[in-house]
Structure formats: structure tokens, C-alpha cells
């Protein structure tokens, strides 16, 4: 019952994996009264050997696989992986494809942040924040459904470009959706973010100092909430980000409230970016010439009319040069995601490494919960937007 050396004072609490707020993991908490002495995240419950399975799939087939672990935030990981594959192959997506990728990535960021905020809400007991966020994420799901044909697992970005062009009327509908979200955010603020109870639960809870954030290698909104303005979109711009005007949202407090508010700020920035993307998207092809010219001639008209790509047969067996290596980094919704690929010249990756933001943030569980209250565990957990499958892969 008690940890070594701590006598009989402490109680070991196993939170999860069968617990309403543990997610797919277990938190082993050692509590002294209501105070957490130590908390150890026990991860790996949803490990699905993504990296190993990738070695048995062709480069294209790995795309849906990559999308599964970071659910909600599928597009950003799709983008990261595809960027690495393109570097292996030496192809580049045409500009319009880059902008479309950025569009979906930012839509997905809004979706993922709402998802995280909703989970955080229910962890604090606000069923309204949960229901609202989960309801409003449907807006971005609906728009993505029109763009990609799927609700969440889009598999939209492929080596060399994207699979579909904007459907007719997309920009107008999106503008309405964005205005709606902008109208809604103040209501979220009144009922949840600025609710005195929420503030009492989050302000000053789980404070991550700037130094610790850097030392522990934290990424994403959790890092920026500790005052470090690091964002891959700004530090190593990719896709259409170099041409977009956006701000890296940071806060200095480093507490759970700051982490939540950074996400809210990022939703606003994503809304701005989507507006810019839809206003300034360049015309042109959406698939690299190298592959576009291999589309069977009888489909060319179809592709032009519908804006939907027909795959050339080569996509089924892409073979990057032997020994090629590539790394890519993207700012996924939960933080920096890194992909590393090695080719042995065959149609399947020799090695695929996927480092997800949740994997890098898991260290925070034991760091931030030392000395907190039992009730702070879900408050901090939620503020990290930690997603066990994403970390376990």
C-alpha cells in the first residue's frame, strides 16, 4: 500500500485504465491525505506497433496508419509523414496543394483543440464545456467531410500533393462556419474559461516554469503556455505557413489555465489563417507533375472536372532511392511531431520513426503533479491535452 521508505502514511491510488478520466492509461498516484506525493503515468495500454507495421506497408498504405494514433489531430500527422516521404522521393507538392494541406491542417487544429478543451471540461465537471466543444467540433468535421470525403481520418495528403480540390462553394460556407465559431468563443469564455469555478481550479495549478519546460523538452501549447514562443510553423516554416500572417500564441503563467487559454488563442489564430488561405489560395495543379502525368489519359477530364485525383498506378509502389533518409517536423495540434524515414530502395520503409507530441509531454505528469491535490490530477491531465494513443502509437 505504501511506497518504500514512506511508512504507512501514503495510499497508492490506481487511476485507470478502467476509470472515467484516465483515458487509455493508468496513473499510479501515491497520495498522502489529499496531497499527491508522487504520480507515475503507466503508459503503453494502446501501443499498436505503428512503427513496426509501417515496415510492412507501402509508403502510401502507411498514411491511414499514421492517422490512427493521434485521433482528432489526423491531418497534421498526415502532413508530417507525407513531407518526409516527399523528401525521400525528391518530389514537391505544387503550391495549391501546399495551401490545401495547410487549410486542412488548421481546420484540424481547431477540431483537435476543441476536442481537448471538451475533455478538459468534463474532467473538471463541466458537462456543458464538453458538450459544446464536442458539438462545435462537428463544424470542422462537416467542412472536412466536404473537402476530403471523410469525417476524421482523411488520408487527404499523399506524396506529391493532395487528393481533392476545394468543392464548389467551400469558401463561403467556411466563412459562415468561422463567423459562427467567433460568435461562440465569448460564450465559452463566460460559461467555462472565465467561470470563477474553472479559474479556481486552474489558476496556479500545475505550474510549469519556463526553465523546466525547456529542460524537459515539452512541446506545443504546453510549452508556449510557459512563455516559450517555439512553434515549428514559425521556426521551420513548411507548406504554406511562410506566406501566412499569424502569431505564435504564448502566455507566461505556465499554469493549467494558461495552457487552456493558449489553445483558445490558437483557435483564433487558426480562424485567421483559414480566412487568409481561402482568400489567397493560388490556382494550379494539386498533384506534382511527376505523378500527374502518369494518371491514365482517360481520367484527365474527370480529374479536371471533379477536382478529384485518380491515382497513377505508381502510387501503389513508390520506391525511394536506396539509403535515402528523411526527417520532417510539423507543428501538430498538440505540439511538434517528428517523422524519420529510411529507405532500402524497396516499396516499404526500412524504418519509420514517429515521435508524437503526447509522447514528449508525458513527462509532465510526474513533474506537474508533485504536491498537488487529488482533484488536481484531472485538472492538470486535461490541461496537457495528452492523448494516450498518440503517445503509445
Amino acid at each position: 500500500m505504501s511506497g518504500a521508505g514512506s511508512g504507512e502514511r501514503t495510499l497508492e491510488l490506481l487511476i485507470g485504465p478502467q476509470h472515467p478520466a484516465s483515458g487509455h492509461m493508468r496513473l499510479v498516484a501515491e497520495v498522502d491525505g489529499d496531497v499527491v506525493v508522487r504520480l507515475r503515468p503507466d503508459i503503453g495500454y494502446v501501443h499498436r506497433t505503428v512503427e513496426k507495421i509501417a515496415e510492412t506497408k507501402t509508403y502510401l498504405q502507411t498514411i491511414p496508419l499514421i492517422e490512427r494514433p493521434p485521433l482528432a489531430d489526423t491531418a497534421n500527422h498526415n502532413l508530417g509523414y507525407v513531407m518526409a516521404v516527399e523528401r525521400l522521393l525528391g518530389v514537391e507538392a505544387p503550391p495549391r496543394a501546399q495551401w490545401l494541406r495547410t487549410l486542412l491542417a488548421e481546420m484540424n487544429r481547431i477540431h483537435s483543440h476543441l476536442y481537448g478543451l471538451g475533455i478538459h471540461g468534463i474532467m473538471l465537471g463541466s458537462s456543458t464545456a464538453f458538450m459544446w466543444a464536442f458539438g462545435d467540433r462537428e463544424i470542422m468535421i462537416e467542412m472536412a467531410k466536404r473537402l476530403t470525403g471523410a469525417r476524421i481520418t482523411y488520408s487527404y495528403m499523399i506524396p506529391g500533393g493532395v487528393r481533392r480540390d476545394l468543392p464548389p462553394g467551400f469558401a463561403e460556407e467556411m466563412e459562415k462556419a468561422l463567423r459562427y465559431l467567433e460568435r461562440r468563443l465569448p460564450d465559452y469564455d463566460r460559461i467555462f474559461f472565465s467561470n470563477p469555478v474553472t479559474r479556481a481550479r486552474l489558476e496556479g495549478v500545475g505550474v510549469l516554469t519556463r526553465e523546466d519546460a525547456i529542460r524537459l523538452g515539452v512541446v506545443g501549447p504546453n510549452l508556449r503556455a510557459s512563455g516559450v514562443a517555439y512553434d515549428v510553423r514559425r521556426a521551420r516554416p513548411y507548406a504554406a505557413y511562410p506566406e501566412l500572417d499569424f502569431q505564435v500564441v504564448t502566455r507566461s503563467e505556465g499554469d493549467s489555465m494558461a495552457r487552456m487559454l493558449v489553445r483558445v488563442g490558437e483557435i483564433r489564430e487558426s480562424i485567421r489563417m483559414i480566412r487568409q488561405i481561402l482568400a489567397r489560395m493560388p490556382d494550379g495543379p494539386i498533384l506534382a507533375e511527376r505523378y500527374a502525368k502518369m494518371i491514365p489519359p482517360k481520367w484527365r477530364d474527370y480529374v479536371r472536372e471533379t477536382g478529384r485525383i485518380k491515382f497513377p498506378a505508381i502510387l501503389a509502389s513508390l520506391r525511394p532511392p536506396k539509403g535515402a533518409e528523411a526527417v520532417s517536423r510539423v507543428e501538430a495540434a498538440r505540439g511538434e511531431a517528428v517523422f524519420y524515414l529510411v529507405s532500402d530502395g524497396g516499396p516499404r520503409p526500412y524504418r519509420m520513426r514517429m515521435v508524437t507530441p503526447s509522447l514528449r509531454n508525458v513527462v509532465l505528469f510526474s513533474h506537474l503533479t508533485r504536491g498537488c491535490r487529488v482533484a488536481d490530477i484531472p485538472a492538470i491531465y486535461g490541461s496537457l491535452d495528452y492523448f494516450p494513443p498518440e503517445a503509445d502509437r
Binding site: 472515467p20 465537471g125 458537462s127 459544446w132 458539438g135 491535490r373
Partner: protein, 340 residues
């Protein structure tokens, strides 16, 4: 006919009617079935959903709770091997029963009551405290760490809220110059409602009734995301149903008390109801139900406080405020506002 008349007479006699029908068991059950459904409907509307819907669609799923009750009745009640079986089984029944007990001292009207006592307010308050002890026992009996913590939380909270609750209630006794609930209503009828005489006491009493019955933002001892279901984690079937109902029941009793102490009780009695002996009770019932609706609505507004925050709130704010409310009452009495 004679036998029927005799049974009817028995049923309508206050000492049977009060505990059994109103405000006792039958009405309490009706309140439970209604208010939990209503809570879900309110929360659903705020959350832009429909809530219960498919059980009796044309009435907005009004019978959802009946369906739930039937399900609870037929679900297997599981007694964990390591649990203290006797305490585990008796706990919910006792909790439910004890929580309902205070209604015996609550008058239905100026002439219809089971117990008329000079100190009926004290009786109600004293009986109200019994439930919390049962929650502690339940939390311990399940032999589950979450239950234990939940039970302890309930214990800490009850320590913190009982005193300001008593002080706030007694401040009204000071204002009305009586501890008899019937007299309290009569004083209010002559002067003004308690909520106007001493809004501070009303506020403290209201907040504590949320705190004492696990209403949001004080849904702390059950706190799903922390303690699964707090003291009631190990329960299933109808035993769980009873434990869940108990907090609503306590809230019901507190709302009845609030209506009598602060909202003028059965006054004003509509003339149509004056003829029936327990008719005025309908007015109290309606007031209590409206109050309950307010409390359950808060579920849609608030997250939950941490236990230490709620305890601090009780000791640092509610206790001083309740003491202040005594002075407000004294002031009101001194100014002659209460007619006492």
C-alpha cells in the same frame, strides 16, 4: 364501503399522510422521478441537445426515469467479496430512509402536520445530519479506495457546512422569534417573506443546500473524473439507485425547509386549495420544486470545486456570513420588521 372509508381516513390522517404520501415517500419518489428527468432536460437544453427523448417520445421522454428505475430494479446487485456485506447492503437503505426522515417534522399547513413542536426547526435540522454519517459508512463499507476517499470528503464537507447551515437557520428563528415552523409561516404571512427580511441568511442557506447535497459546483464527493462515483463506486442495481436518489432527496427536504423558512411556506393559499386539509401543502411543494429546478440547472453552468476549496468557502465565507445573518435578523427584529 366502511372499510374503504376507514382506510381512506387512515391515509388522510396527518401522521400517516405526512411520512407516507406528502411530503413523505410517495411525493418524494415522484419528485425524484421528475427532477432527475428535468435536470437532464435542462442540462441538455443548455448543451444544445435533447436529453431523454425516446422513452415516451411525445412527452419529451418523461418516463425515462421510470425506465431507469425498472432497469435498476432488475440489474444484479453486486456485493464485492471484500466489502463489509452488512454495512454495504444496509447503507443505501438507511441513507435513503434517514434522508427522508426529517419530513415528519415539516408541516403541510397551519393545521395539518404529523408533529407540531415548539422546536420543529431543530428537529428537522438534527435529522438532516444523520445522512452524512451513513455516507461515511457506505464509503468505508465498499472497501474501495475511491469510496473511502469519497466518504471522507463527504465527512469533511459535512463538518464544514453543518455549522453555517444551523446558524443561518437559527438566525431566522431569531428573526421570527420562534423555532416552530408553523409559527414561522404565520409570522411571514403577517410581515414579509424571510428572503426579504434576511436575504443574507437565505443566500447562505441556499448555497449550503447545494453544498450539502452534491449539487454543482459542489459535486465533490462523487466527482466522477476523480473518484469514479465516490462513496457509491461499488454499488450497482437498485442499491446504486437509492444512493443516487438520496442526494436529491436531501435536496428536496432542504428545499421544503427553505420554502417554509424563507418563501412564506403555504402562504398565500389559493382559495381553491384552502378547503382541503393538506391543500396548502401544494404551494410549499411548488415552491420547493421551483427551487430544486434552480439547483439542478447549475449542473449546466458549473464545473466542480476542489474539496479544500469548498471547505475553505464554508469556513471562511459561509460561516462568517451566517453569523452576520444573525445580526441582520436581530436588526430586522429590532426595527420591528418581523412583528415579533
Amino acid at each position: 364501503m366502511g372499510a374503504l372509508g376507514w382506510i381512506l381516513g387512515l391515509l388522510l390522517s396527518p401522521w400517516v399522510f405526512v411520512p407516507l404520501i406528502y411530503p413523505g415517500l410517495v411525493s418524494a419518489f415522484a419528485v425524484l422521478l421528475f427532477i432527475i428527468w428535468f435536470e437532464r432536460k435542462l442540462a441538455a437544453k443548455v448543451q444544445r441537445r435533447f436529453g431523454p427523448y425516446y422513452v415516451l417520445r411525445h412527452l419529451g421522454g418523461a418516463t425515462q426515469l421510470v425506465a431507469d428505475l425498472i432497469r435498476y430494479l432488475f440489474a444484479e446487485p453486486i456485493i464485492p467479496e471484500e466489502a463489509d456485506a452488512l454495512a454495504f447492503v444496509m447503507g443505501p437503505a438507511l441513507l435513503f430512509g434517514l434522508t427522508l426522515l426529517p419530513v415528519v417534522a415539516i408541516p403541510v399547513s397551519g393545521t395539518f402536520y404529523a408533529i407540531r413542536s415548539d422546536v420543529s426547526l431543530l428537529i428537522v435540522l438534527a435529522l438532516l445530519t444523520l445522512g452524512a454519517a451513513m455516507t461515511l459508512i457506505i464509503g468505508w463499507a465498499g472497501n474501495n479506495k475511491f469510496s473511502l476517499i469519497g466518504g471522507l470528503r463527504e465527512g469533511f464537507l459535512s463538518m464544514a457546512y453543518e455549522i453555517p447551515l444551523f446558524v443561518a437557520a437559527l438566525s431566522m428563528a431569531a428573526a421570527y422569534g420562534t423555532l416552530d415552523l408553523v409559527d414561522m409561516v404565520e409570522v411571514q404571512a403577517e410581515t414579509a417573506w424571510g428572503v426579504a427580511l434576511n436575504p443574507l441568511a437565505a443566500f447562505v442557506f441556499l448555497v449550503i443546500s447545494f453544498l450539502a447535497t452534491s449539487r454543482f459546483p459542489f459535486e465533490i464527493s462523487e466527482a466522477e473524473s476523480e473518484l469514479v462515483m465516490g462513496p457509491f463506486t461499488e454499488y450497482s442495481g437498485i442499491m446504486y439507485g437509492l444512493t443516487m436518489g438520496a442526494s436529491y432527496l436531501k435536496y428536496y427536504v432542504l428545499c421544503l425547509l427553505f420554502s417554509i423558512m424563507f418563501l412564506g411556506g403555504w402562504e398565500p393559499v389559493p382559495p381553491q386549495l384552502a378547503a382541503v386539509p393538506f391543500g396548502p401543502g401544494v404551494v410549499v411543494f411548488a415552491k420547493a420544486l421551483a427551487l430544486m429546478a434552480l439547483g439542478v440547472f447549475l449542473r449546466a453552468v458549473y464545473p466542480r470545486y476542489r474539496v479544500d476549496q469548498a471547505i475553505r468557502l464554508a469556513w471562511h465565507y459561509l460561516l462568517p456570513l451566517s453569523v452576520a445573518s444573525v445580526f441582520v435578523s436581530m436588526g430586522a427584529a429590532w426595527l420591528g420588521l418581523t412583528g415579533a
